[in-house]
């Protein structure tokens, strides 16, 4: 059996097949290594989403752009301060010290975006919210995480699955939602 494989493998077709298989394995390995080496930038602070959502703060309070336009937006430090200046613990908690320092020094947090798409994809939050999607449909349950995590790989297949599902039998809607030009331009 093994011998037969070797015989086949040195035939012209066999060589090509082996090369292709080798390339496939090699690229899988390279892809895997690439994935592990590409850590996103660390977040500046371990922002506890669960705590804030648990307090009943709406997503749109800090990310108001989501209902209005393409980008949900990140809150400015002055927005944090709006609530936190009322809280005594702000002055004493070691965990809140980075925010206090930032406020006093006039510096800012530089966030590492979590849910992101490549630059050739033009995502717009507004129509998704208008279509009745909730934040957690894509971004996961924020009551369960501290810093935001992506519950799924945001790739084109994932987008299109949902688009096809939502379009249902509506032909015009399906055309619009699966058109290349809807996201890529």
């Amino acid at each position: 059996m093994i011998k037969r494989f070797f015989v086949w493998a040195i035939s012209p077709m066999g060589r090509i097949a082996v090369v292709i298989a080798g390339m496939f394995v090699f690229s899988l390995a390279a892809f895997g290594i690439y994935q592990t080496q590409q850590n996103p930038n660390p977040q500046p602070i371990q922002f506890p989403h669960n705590l804030h959502v648990g307090l009943g703060i709406q997503c749109l309070y800090c990310h108001p752009g989501a209902s209005k336009g393409p980008s949900a937006g990140l809150p400015t430090i002055s927005k944090c301060w709006g609530c936190h200046q009322q809280i005594a613990k702000t002055q004493t908690s070691p965990k809140l010290k980075p925010m206090l320092d930032a406020m006093n020094n006039g510096t800012n947090f530089v966030w590492a975006p979590v849910a992101k798409v490549p630059e050739f994809v033009h995502f717009n939050h507004r129509p998704h919210i208008a279509a009745g999607l909730n934040c957690e449909n894509c971004h996961g349950d924020m009551t369960k995480v501290t810093i935001a995590e992506n519950p799924q790989v945001m790739n084109m297949g994932w987008c299109l699955n949902c688009h096809r599902e939502r379009a249902g039998d509506d032909e015009a809607k399906l055309i619009k939602l699966t058109d290349c030009g809807t996201c890529h331009y």
Partner: protein, 252 residues
């Protein structure tokens, strides 16, 4: 013999014979060749400049250009009217069926020709097959600050609504699809249809002579549709059966 391209699995490549959705009318009697449209297009669509040597090789990346032709010799010399030439967004586009990567496809939703940058592998078949010579190819990483240090600061001006293309990618006029989307999104959020003249392309917006009009060619009462019915109207290379969506108005 006619070939049904749909049977050749080129579905989506050539999709329509109807009049189209978006259209443009360019009045050549008014065009003064001033290049305002070219500059406006470059600023809106993050088009790279290629500098002198590459420009000499014919690699400049204008999505729209003004053509002019000479007739006769001095003193009987005449210059044709300036013809702003841009992607004609053909209903039957010669560029579409030749793309092996399906990177240039017909948008069924907007009925224009799309160039999907992330699919493009740079075969340049489409440019070779375009009778209007309106596709331009990124021969280098013109917009990469590692290649061109000045991009670091010039990039502040880039339009975030338009992808910055990299080397090896074909590109062309998109009828300012980002503006189409923005207007449609705004109209939808206000629960209405997009009105005629509510938005326009960057070239039409800049044109000091008002030579360019853009809008819904399929709405008979829209300005662009009215102008397209002018007795001066003509289509470039119409005989090729490309069904161009850009109508030119002759002089006279």
């Amino acid at each position: 013999m006619t070939v049904d391209l749909n049977k050749l699995h080129a579905v989506g490549a050539i999709a329509e014979e109807a009049e189209g959705k978006w259209g443009m009318v360019i009045d050549m009697d008014l065009c003064t060749g001033c290049q305002a449209c070219v500059a406006a297009c470059a600023m809106e669509n993050n088009i790279p400049y290629v500098e002198e040597v590459d420009a000499g090789y014919g690699r400049s990346m204008h999505w729209i250009r003004t053509e002019r032709f000479w007739e006769g010799e001095y003193p009987e010399v005449k210059m044709s009217a300036y013809q702003p030439m841009l992607c004609q967004q053909c209903g039957k586009a010669p560029c579409e069926p030749v793309c092996p990567a399906f990177a240039t496809v017909h948008s069924q939703a907007e009925q224009i020709n799309l160039q999907v940058y992330n699919r493009c592998v740079g075969t340049r078949y489409c440019a070779n097959n375009c009778p209007y010579q309106v596709r331009s190819f990124n021969w280098r990483d013109y917009q990469d600050s590692r290649v061109r240090p000045e991009i670091t600061i010039l990039a502040n001006q880039f339009n975030p609504d338009v992808t910055v293309r990299r080397r090896g990618v074909m590109e062309k006029c998109t009828f300012c699809i980002q503006r189409i989307h923005k207007a449609q999104d705004k109209a939808k959020s206000e629960g209405r249809e997009v009105e005629d003249g509510e938005f326009t392309t960057a070239c039409a917006q800049a044109c000091p002579a008002n030579a360019i009009t853009f809008g819904r060619i399929d709405h008979p009462e829209s300005l662009v549709a009215q102008l397209a019915r002018s007795p001066r109207a003509e289509h470039h290379l119409e005989e090729l059966g490309t069904l161009p969506r850009v109508t030119y108005l002759k002089e006279g």
